[in-house]
C-alpha cells in the first residue's frame, strides 16, 4: 500500500491456486464500500513465468458483480482469467487499485503552523472469499513520522515503512482493522473540475486549453494567515500548504500561457528537453487547506505528432488525463474540437467514460465544429493514457474560410464600385434631381468655357513670347507667323465657345453665373484685341525700324490696359472657379 501522496495505491500480488476440481475462469475479490466508492482505477494483470521479467499479458477484463450470500458492505469485482485454471494450477495476478480521497485528515482543522496528519484505515488481513495461505502487508509512508499506528503481532516499523505479517492460513473474510495516523505534507491538490479542450487545426496546430478549479483538500486551515510567518519560516509555518504545481507537458509544446479570469499569472517557469516540457506554475497565493483557486493553462502542439492517417480516415492520438503531477480530478471533461466539416466520428478510450457531442462556433464558422465530449469522474494520474478519435475530413475544406474572407472583401469592393457608378436616385423626375442634372451640365460647360479661356490666355502668352523673341532677334517673319497661328487658334476657340455660351444662356440653372461668364468672355475678347494691337504696333515699329524707346512709349499705354484686363480676367476666373 503506497501512501506517499494524497493518492492511495494498493498493489496486490496474488498467487492463485485452484484447489477445487473444476476449472476456474474467474477470480473474485472485494473492497470495503468506503474504499470502493473512491476507487479510481482498477487494473489486473497476470505475470507469466517464474522470473522477475514481467511479461504481463495485458490487462484483464474486470467486472463489478454482486454475488449473493456475501457479507454486506463489500463491493465485489471479478477478474476473468485468460484461460481457465485447472485443478492444482496456479497463476500470479497483479491487481493495481488506485483510490482517491481515501486519506482522511485528522484533525480536520489545523492552523497555519501545524503539520497535516492523515489517517488511513484498512485491514491487515487480505479480504478475500478464499482461503489465504500466506499474506503480508507493507505500508509505505511519505515521511518516517507517524503519530500512531495499530500495533498487531508481527508489526514492524522501519524507516518510512510499516509491515504487517506475514500471516498464514487465514480463513475467508478474515478482517483485522488497522489504522495509520501519519504525517503527510504532500500537496492535496484536487481539481474539482477540469475542462480540457483539444482543438485541432489542420493548419498544423493542436491547441490544448485546460481550465482548472483547484482545491486544497487536506486539513482545513483555520485562524490567522500571517504572511510574515509564512515568509520567515515557510517550512515550519506553511508546511501543510503547497505553492507550486508541476505539469508535464508533451515535448515541443509551444505558446504556453497561464492565466486566470483576471489576467496573466506571472509566476511560472518552463524547462524543456526533447522528451518533455516541464511547466512549473504557482497559483496566485500559497494554497492552504480548504483554499480554492482557479486558473487556465494552454499550449499548442505540433499537429503531425498527434494526427495520423489510416484507411482514408484520420485519427487523433492524444492523452486523456491531466498532465499535473499527483493531482486528483473529481470531474474531468475532455472536449475534442474537430475541424468544421468532419464526419464519421468515433472515439476509443481505454476505460469507461461518458460520451457526448456538441457543436462549437469558432472563427468564421458556418455550420460549427463537431465537438466530442468525454466525461469522467475521479481521475488519477494513472489515467494519463492515450485515446483515439477517428474522423473523416476533406483537406479542401481548409480553404473555405480564406476563400470566404477573400470573397467577402471582393464583394465589399465591388459594392463600393457599383455604389460610386450607379445612380441611386429614387425619383428620376423630381425637380431637385433634374436641377441637379442640369447643374452638372452647367458646371461641365463652364469648365469647358474656362478651359477655352485658358487656352486663349496661353496663346496670348505665345504672342507675347514672340514679341520678346522679336526684340531679341529682330525676326519679323517669325513673329508674324506666330501671330497668324494665334489668330487661327482664336477663331477656332471662339467657334467652340459659341455653342457653350448658347447652352448656358438657355439653361435656367446658369442664371446666376451667366453674367460673370459673359463678362469673362467679353473681357477676354478685349484683351485679345489689345494684344493684337500691341502686336501690330510693335511689328510696325520694327518694320519701320523705330528705336526701342519709341516702341516702349507707344506700347506703354496698351501694356497698361493689357495688365489691367489680365488682372480682371484672372479675378473673374477665380470667382467662377469658386462657384
Amino acid at each position: 500500500i503506497d501512501l506517499a501522496s494524497q493518492i492511495v495505491r494498493i498493489a496486490t500480488t496474488l498467487k492463485v491456486e485452484n484447489a477445487g476440481g473444476d476449472p476456474v475462469s474467474e477470480v473474485l475479490f472485494a473492497f470495503p464500500d468506503h474504499q470502493a466508492k473512491n476507487l479510481a482505477l482498477l487494473v489486473a494483470t497476470t505475470t507469466e513465468g517464474k522470473g522477475k521479467t514481467k511479461s504481463s499479458g495485458g490487462s484483464l477484463p474486470i467486472e463489478a458483480v454482486h454475488p449473493e450470500g456475501m457479507p454486506p458492505a463489500l463491493t465485489w469485482y471479478t477478474v476473468s482469467l485468460p484461460k481457465g485454471l485447472g485443478k492444482g494450477e496456479s497463476l500470479t495476478l497483479d491487481i493495481m487499485a488506485v483510490f482517491s480521497h481515501l486519506l482522511r485528515p485528522f484533525p480536520e482543522k489545523i492552523t497555519q503552523g501545524d503539520i497535516q496528519l492523515v489517517v488511513f484505515q484498512d485491514s491487515a488481513h487480505y479480504l478475500s472469499p478464499y482461503e489465504v495461505k500466506r499474506q503480508s502487508v507493507r505500508v509505505k509512508l511519505p515521511e518516517p513520522k507517524v503519530e500512531s499506528y495499530t500495533k498487531l503481532e508481527d508489526t514492524k516499523f522501519s524507516g518510512s515503512e510499516i509491515t504487517y505479517g506475514p500471516y498464514e492460513n487465514l480463513p475467508p473474510f478474515s478482517y483485522s482493522p488497522i489504522a495509520v495516523h501519519f504525517v503527510n505534507n504532500k500537496p492535496f491538490a484536487v481539481a474539482k473540475e477540469l475542462v480540457r479542450e483539444i482543438e485541432i487545426s489542420h493548419w498544423g496546430n493542436v491547441q490544448v486549453t485546460e481550465h482548472y478549479t483547484l482545491l486544497h483538500d487536506g486539513a482545513q486551515s483555520t485562524g490567522e494567515f500571517s504572511r510574515l510567518d509564512y515568509q520567515a519560516r515557510p517550512q515550519v509555518k506553511g508546511a501543510s500548504s503547497f505553492s507550486n504545481l508541476v505539469a508535464m507537458l508533451p515535448p515541443r509544446a509551444h505558446s504556453i500561457y497561464y492565466r486566470d479570469e483576471i489576467g496573466n499569472i506571472s509566476t511560472s517557469n518552463i524547462y524543456g528537453d526533447s522528451t518533455k516540457t516541464l511547466l512549473e506554475i504557482e497559483p496566485r497565493y500559497p494554497m492552504f487547506g480548504g483554499w480554492r483557486t482557479s486558473f487556465t493553462i494552454g499550449y499548442g502542439l505540433p499537429l503531425h505528432d498527434y494526427l495520423f492517417h489510416s484507411e482514408g480516415k484520420r485519427f487523433l492520438k492524444i492523452f486523456f488525463g491531466c498532465p499535473m503531477n499527483e493531482m486528483v480530478i473529481d470531474n474531468l471533461i475532455v472536449k475534442v474540437v474537430l475541424p468544421e466539416g468532419s464526419s464519421d466520428i468515433s472515439v476509443s478510450v481505454p476505460f469507461s467514460v461518458k460520451q457526448g457531442q456538441e457543436t462549437k462556433f469558432s472563427h468564421l464558422d458556418m455550420v460549427g465544429r463537431p465537438v466530442v465530449v468525454l466525461e469522467k469522474t475521479n481521475v488519477v494520474p494513472e489515467h494519463y493514457q492515450h485515446f483515439l478519435v477517428h474522423y473523416k475530413f476533406n483537406s479542401l475544406s481548409l480553404l473555405r474560410e480564406p476563400l470566404m474572407l477573400i470573397s467577402g472583401f471582393l464583394f465589399l469592393f465591388v459594392a463600393c464600385i457599383i455604389y460610386h457608378h450607379a445612380d441611386l436616385t429614387i425619383s428620376k423626375s423630381s425637380a431637385s434631381y433634374l436641377a441637379k442634372l442640369q447643374w452638372d451640365e452647367v458646371q461641365a460647360s463652364i469648365q469647358q468655357v474656362l478651359n477655352i479661356i485658358n487656352r486663349c490666355i496661353a496663346t496670348h502668352d505665345k504672342v507675347e513670347a514672340s514679341l520678346r523673341d522679336l526684340s531679341r532677334t529682330g525676326d519679323v517673319q517669325a513673329c508674324k507667323a506666330a501671330r497668324k497661328a494665334a489668330d487661327n487658334l482664336w477663331k477656332e476657340l471662339s467657334k467652340d465657345l459659341k455653342p457653350l455660351l448658347a447652352f448656358l444662356q438657355s439653361s435656367p440653372q446658369a442664371v446666376q453665373i451667366l453674367p460673370k461668364v459673359e463678362e469673362l468672355v467679353a473681357k477676354e475678347r478685349e484683351l485679345q484685341e489689345r494684344i493684337m494691337s500691341k502686336h501690330s504696333t510693335v511689328v510696325d515699329c520694327y518694320e519701320k525700324k523705330s528705336s526701342g524707346r519709341d516702341i516702349d512709349n507707344r506700347v506703354a499705354s496698351i501694356q497698361q490696359k493689357i495688365t489691367a484686363l489680365r488682372q480682371e480676367v484672372d479675378d473673374l476666373i477665380e470667382v467662377i472657379d469658386e462657384i
Binding site: T222, G223, E224, F225, S226, R227, L228, A232, D260, I262, G263, N264, I265, S266, T267, R284, Y285, G290, W291, R292, T293, S294, F361, S362, H363, L364, D365, M366, N451, I452, N454, R455, I457, A458, D461, K462, E464, R468, T563, R566, Q567, D570, D571, I573, E574, D577, E578
Partner: protein
C-alpha cells in the same frame, strides 16, 4: 492640345492626391492604434486602473443579459446596503459601443472575449478620432492641415494617457464623439445643409451618451454662435447649424437616463437656450430688415426693443429665481469647481481628493502636449488669416479648453485635440510657406530647360510681374507642377489656393537658405515630438496600475499583489460577504473579486463614504462597531510601506479623515496632525497611532526587519508592537501591498467557538 492636357493632368493629380491622402489616413489610423499597444506588449491584455473595471463589469452584464436588463439593472454588489441603479446613473455610450462591437464580432463567429473587445476599444476609437480630426481641420484649413493635425492627434501623449489598450474609459470614445460633433457643426456651418445638421444632433447624442463632458459642447457651440452674431457674421447657415442642434440635441439628450430632465433643468444647458432665443430674434430681425424699408425698420426696432426688453427682464428674473432656489444654483459640483477652481477644495473634499481633479502643473503641459504648446500660438495666428466662421470656432475652442485644462488635469484631454488642430494648421502653413519659397528659388539656381507649353496656364499668373522677371517666372511655375507630385501631404494646401492668393503669396518669398533651415528645424521639431510621444506611450502611460514592475539588478520584478488579493477574495470567501475598503478599490473589488463593497469609485453618496472614512480613522473598537453595523466581514487595506508603493492608504488617509470629518464632526483633522504636519513616526499624535488604518497597515510590520522602517514615508513608525483585538489577519499578499482582515466575532456573546457572528 496643351490646355486639354493640363486639364487631364490636373484631374489625374487630383485623383493621385486623393489616393495619397487616403493612404496617409490609413497609416495614421494604424499609427494611432499601434502606438497604444505598448501596454499589451509590455504587460498583458488586461483592463487598467479603476473606472475601466467598472465599465468592463457593466459591459459583461450587458453582453450577458441584454439591453433591457441593462437599463433596469439595480446593482446590489456595491454601496451596500443602499445599492446602485446602474442603468440610470451610468453614461452608456462606451458600454453600448463595446457591447455592439462584441455582438457584431460574435455574430460573425469571431469568438473574442468581452475583455479583449474592451481592451481594444480605446485604440480603435483613437484611430477614428484621428480621422475625425482630419475631417474637422480639413473643413477649417484644407487637406494638408487636416492630415498634419490627424497625425499629431494620433500620438498626442495627453490622449494616449486615456486611451492605451486596456484603458477602457468613457474618454476613449468621448474624444472621438467630441471632435466628430465639432466637425459636423463646422460642416453644417460651411454647407448650410440640414442633412449635416441632423447628423450633428446624432453625434451630439452619442457624445451625451458617452461622457459628462458633453456640457462642453453645449456651451462652446452657443458661445461661437453668439460670437458670430456679435461680429456680424450671422447667416442662414449659422441658423441651420445651431437651431436643429439645440432642439434635436436636447430631445435626444433627455433620452439618456443619466441626463434625463437635466437637459432642460440644470444651468449647464441654459447658455444654449439663451442663445437659441437670441439667434431667433436676430433671424427675425434680418428677415424683417429684408422686408421693410430702412426707415420703417428703424421704427420697428425701437418698438420691438422696448417691448422685448421688458419681457426679457421678466423671463430672466423668473429664471434667476428658479435657479437660485436650488442649493447649488443648478450647477453640479464638478461644473462649479470648473467655474470656481477653489470651490471643490472648500466644499466637496471628495472631488478635491481625486488627483485628476487637481489643477495641472506647468511640466504636465509639456509632458502632455509637448511641442504643440509652442505651435498653438502660430496656429491661432494662421486662423486669423483669413478669419472664417470655422477658424473662429477653432480659436474659441482652444481658448476655452486652455482655461478648463488649467483648472483640472483631467480636462487636458479636451485641450489635446484643439492643440493638435492648431498645431496642424501652423505646421502645414509653415511648410507651405517654406516649400513655396524654396520652389521659387530653386530653378534660378539649377534648371532653365524646363519650359514647356503645358504649364503656360499657371504662368499666366506671373504676367502681372515686370517684364524682366517674366521668363523666370514661367520656368518657376513649370517647376512647380512636377515637384508637387513628390512632395508630401503639405502639397494639398498649395493646390487649393486660387490664383489670386498665389499671387499674394508669391510676394512672401523668403530667402532660400533660411527657408531650408527653417524647414529642417520644423522636421526636427516634429521628430522630437514623435520621440517624446513614443516614449510617453511606452514608459509613462502604459502601466496598467494593477500590475507594477520594477527593474532591479537581477532583472524585472513583478508586483502582482492586487490581483493576488482579489483572487484570494473571490475564491476563499463566501459569495455574500461584504468587503470594506477605501472607495478607490471598490470598482476593482466588485469586478475582480466579485464581492459586495460598501463604497466605490462612483462617489455618489458622500455620507456613506464618510462612514467608511470615519471607521478607518476611529480606534479599533469604534471601527469594529461601525463595520459590524454595516454587516462587513472583511476589511481590505493597501499598504506600500514594505516595498515602497507610494499611493497606499496611509498616504490617502488624510482625505479619509477630512471626508469623514465633513459628516461626523467628532473626527477632527488636527487630531491627526502634529503641528500641522502629517506624520506616522514617534512624533505622531496618539489619535493617529491608535486609529484603525494605522493598526491594520502596520500590524506585525516590526517583525519584518526589526525596526519597522516604512519605505514610503522614509521613517520608522511610531508605535511598533501592538495586538489587534477585534480584527484578525486572514490574508496578506506577497509584497504586503494588500492586507485583508476579518472582523472577529464579538467575544461576550459566543465565547470559545469559531462560528462567525452574523448580526
Amino acid at each position: 492640345m496643351a490646355a486639354s492636357e493640363t486639364a487631364k493632368d490636373s484631374a489625374l493629380r487630383h485623383a493621385f492626391g486623393n489616393v495619397l491622402s487616403f493612404f496617409i489616413l490609413v497609416l495614421i489610423g494604424v499609427l494611432a492604434f499601434s502606438i497604444r499597444l505598448f501596454s499589451v506588449i509590455k504587460y498583458e491584455s488586461v483592463i487598467h486602473e479603476f473606472d475601466p473595471y467598472f465599465n468592463y463589469r457593466v459591459t459583461q452584464f450587458l453582453t450577458k443579459n441584454g439591453i433591457y436588463d441593462f437599463w433596469n439593472w439595480f446593482d446590489d454588489r456595491t454601496w451596500y446596503p443602499l445599492g446602485r441603479v446602474i442603468g440610470g446613473t451610468v453614461y452608456p455610450g462606451l458600454t453600448l459601443t463595446a457591447g455592439t462591437l462584441w455582438w457584431i464580432l460574435n455574430s460573425l463567429n469571431i469568438p473574442l472575449s468581452v475583455e479583449t473587445v474592451c481592451v481594444f476599444t480605446a485604440p480603435i476609437f483613437s484611430s477614428i478620432a484621428a480621422w475625425a480630426t482630419y475631417l474637422l481641420t480639413k473643413e477649417v484649413k484644407g487637406t494638408g492641415a487636416g492630415l498634419t493635425a490627424a497625425a499629431l492627434l494620433a500620438m498626442v501623449p495627453s490622449y494616449i494617457s486615456r486611451s492605451v489598450a486596456g484603458s477602457y474609459d468613457n474618454e476613449a470614445v468621448a474624444i472621438f464623439a467630441l471632435i466628430f460633433t465639432f466637425y459636423l457643426y463646422i460642416k453644417t456651418l460651411n454647407t448650410g445643409s440640414l442633412f449635416y445638421a441632423t447628423l450633428n444632433s446624432i453625434a451630439y447624442f452619442y457624445m451625451v451618451c458617452s461622457w459628462g463632458g458633453y456640457t462642453f459642447i453645449i456651451n462652446l457651440i452657443p458661445m461661437h454662435v453668439l460670437l458670430c452674431i456679435v461680429t456680424g457674421r450671422y447667416s442662414s447657415r449659422l441658423y441651420i447649424a445651431y437651431a436643429p442642434l439645440v432642439v434635436l440635441g436636447t430631445l435626444l439628450a433627455s433620452l439618456v437616463p443619466v441626463v434625463g430632465f437635466n437637459a432642460v433643468l440644470t444651468s449647464e444647458h441654459f447658455a444654449s437656450f439663451l442663445v437659441f432665443i437670441i439667434i431667433h430674434v436676430v433671424a427675425l430681425a434680418y428677415h424683417i430688415k429684408g422686408m421693410l424699408s430702412p426707415s420703417m425698420f428703424k421704427v420697428a426696432v425701437t418698438l420691438v426693443v422696448s417691448v422685448g426688453l421688458v419681457i426679457c427682464c421678466a423671463v430672466v428674473a423668473v429664471l434667476v429665481a428658479l435657479v437660485a432656489s436650488s442649493p447649488t444654483k443648478g450647477w453640479s459640483g464638478r461644473s462649479l469647481s470648473l467655474l470656481d477652481p477653489t470651490y471643490a477644495s472648500k466644499y466637496i473634499p471628495i472631488i478635491a481628493s481625486v488627483s485628476e481633479h487637481q489643477p495641472p502643473t506647468w511640466p504636465s503641459y509639456f509632458m502632455d502636449i509637448n511641442v504643440l504648446a509652442f505651435l498653438v500660438p502660430a496656429g491661432i495666428i494662421a486662423c486669423f488669416l483669413p478669419l472664417s466662421d470655422a477658424s473662429s470656432f477653432v480659436v474659441l475652442y482652444i481658448v476655452t479648453s486652455v482655461y478648463f485644462s488649467g483648472v483640472m488635469v483631467r480636462l487636458m484631454l479636451v485641450l489635446a485635440p484643439a492643440a493638435c488642430i492648431m498645431s496642424g494648421i501652423a505646421l502645414s502653413e509653415a511648410f507651405a510657406v517654406f516649400t513655396r519659397s524654396i520652389k521659387f528659388q530653386l530653378p534660378s539656381l539649377s534648371g532653365d530647360s524646363q519650359v514647356d507649353a503645358g504649364n503656360s496656364d499657371s504662368g499666366s499668373a506671373a504676367t502681372t510681374q515686370t517684364e524682366a522677371v517674366k521668363a523666370d517666372k514661367i520656368e518657376e511655375s513649370a517647376k512647380e507642377r512636377p515637384s508637387r507630385k513628390n512632395k508630401k501631404k503639405e502639397k494639398e494646401t498649395v493646390e487649393k489656393p486660387s490664383v489670386k492668393s498665389r499671387i499674394e503669396k508669391r510676394l512672401l518669398v523668403l530667402p532660400l537658405e533660411s527657408s531650408v533651415i527653417a524647414l529642417l528645424l520644423l522636421v526636427l521639431l516634429g521628430a522630437f515630438y514623435v520621440v517624446h510621444c513614443v516614449w510617453a506611450a511606452a514608459e509613462a502611460y502604459s502601466a496598467p496600475s494593477i500590475v507594477l514592475t520594477s527593474h532591479s539588478h537581477d532583472g524585472l520584478h513583478v508586483f502582482d499583489d492586487f490581483r493576488e488579493a482579489y483572487a484570494w477574495l473571490s475564491h476563499n470567501t463566501e459569495v455574500d460577504d461584504k468587503v470594506a475598503s477605501w472607495w478607490d478599490y471598490g470598482y476593482q473589488t466588485t469586478a475582480m473579486a466579485n464581492r459586495t463593497v460598501i463604497v466605490d469609485n462612483n462617489t455618489w453618496n458622500n455620507t456613506h463614504i464618510a462612514t467608511v472614512g470615519t471607521a478607518m480613522s476611529s480606534p479599533e473598537k469604534a471601527a469594529w462597531e461601525i463595520f459590524d453595523s454595516l454587516d462587513v466581514k472583511y476589511v481590505l487595506v493597501v499598504f506600500g510601506g514594505l516595498v515602497g508603493y507610494p499611493s497606499d492608504d496611509i498616504n490617502k488617509f488624510l482625505w479619509m479623515v477630512r471626508i469623514g470629518g465633513g459628516v461626523f464632526p467628532h473626527i477632527k483633522e488636527p487630531d491627526y496632525l502634529r503641528d500641522g504636519q502629517y506624520r506616522i513616526d514617534s512624533q505622531a499624535t496618539p489619535t493617529m497611532l491608535n486609529c484603525l488604518m494605522y493598526k491594520l497597515s502596520y500590524y506585525r510590520f516590526v517583525e519584518t526587519d526589526g525596526k519597522a522602517f516604512d519605505r514610503v514615508r522614509q521613517t520608522e513608525i511610531g508605535k511598533k508592537h501592538f495586538k489587534l483585538t477585534h480584527f484578525e489577519e486572514v490574508f496578506t499578499t506577497h509584497h504586503w501591498m494588500v492586507r485583508i482582515y476579518k472582523l472577529k466575532p464579538p467575544k461576550n456573546r459566543i465565547r470559545g467557538k469559531t462560528k462567525k457572528s452574523k448580526s
